[in-house]
Subunit: 203 residues, 2 copies
Amino acid sequence: MGILGRLSFKDQAFKLREQTVLDATTHMLASKGFDLMTMDDVASKAGISKPSLYKHFKSKDELATEVMIRLLDDAQDHLAGQAAELGPLDRLRDLLAWALRVRLAGGLPFLPSSSPQVRGMLTRSLRYVSRAIKLHKTLQNIVEQAKERGELRGEMPTDVILYSYYARTCDPAVEYLRVYGKYQDEDIVSHMLQVCFEGMSNR
Amino acid sequence: MGILGRLSFKDQAFKLREQTVLDATTHMLASKGFDLMTMDDVASKAGISKPSLYKHFKSKDELATEVMIRLLDDAQDHLAGQAAELGPLDRLRDLLAWALRVRLAGGLPFLPSSSPQVRGMLTRSLRYVSRAIKLHKTLQNIVEQAKERGELRGEMPTDVILYSYYARTCDPAVEYLRVYGKYQDEDIVSHMLQVCFEGMSNR
DNA sequence: GTCTATATGGGGATAGAC
DNA sequence: GTCTATCCCCATATAGAC
């Protein structure tokens, strides 16, 4: 057994609690947004006190950043776990569907469209940025493969496609469709995919 | 001359200053967002003191709400001013292009995608809600005309089209295209229109 | 109606006991 | 490492002089 595996019960409990805190933060961020989320909220939802929370994460910014990092890791894992026979366009559809389902289940949009402040916070984190870049490059490759196959518009710049793709993961239409449109989650997912890839115009 | 037109110089100046305040608020909201915008910011940008600001608008919420109301009025005016020979799809394209240009010029997205708090604030304002509903109904008609003409997908529910359309006015892709993509404003507008109506997939 | 100066409250962060 | 109790800044909102 390696040294890293030899965690005392206490340390194991500590790590577990950290995940609990990250889960609580994820839900608070999804429901109230960064500015309205308070450290008291998170602490009480995670069942610990505020000073204990600060033993795990030394600031509100760091806490939120860790949540976003975990989310990017999840996305990367999802990509890595896709069936090998999936074509590039289907990989994009599948990843977007996954992201939308995560959101609909009370998770977060993995693009922080929200405020300039939040964007600044994240771009100041090297760990976050390096993961974002890695994911971006992966998706860039997939988009270019899809263009070569003629599955995506060849005349549309790759970055236009990618930024619009990212934006769909945090599209407010999702919430409007749920609240005002009374759609089921899976219907929302398929409508969002349709709008994203096929657009609104008739052919 | 009607009584309403008989404003003293003082009152005229008061009204003018109100517009200055609304302009300043619009720019602050666009750059910092609601939560980070402070009344000190607005007051100093408008060139008045904070107590004077509170003589015009009795709370931060009311101030922001008035800005959004003015924006909806502008949108309605723009729709009303469109050339009579414009088809329904072209009216939608033209309005979205207008909204995106307003944003790119330092204005606001007219959908407050931002936070649940801001949405709550607006839905509590009868004046805002009635205008939003009126605009919504106008656009609903236009979408249905476009569907009848075969310009928009008939099989796609009207509300799916509308909510996605609204979402394009506050699409974060706009900012990403400007900051990272280094596109010119007009290129951003045309790319956004393309993605919105034609989608990403090749036909 | 406009200012200077101030009250009030909330939330991020910490001291110090255990 | 966890808690109770507290610090302290900052932003909304106002009192009161002119």
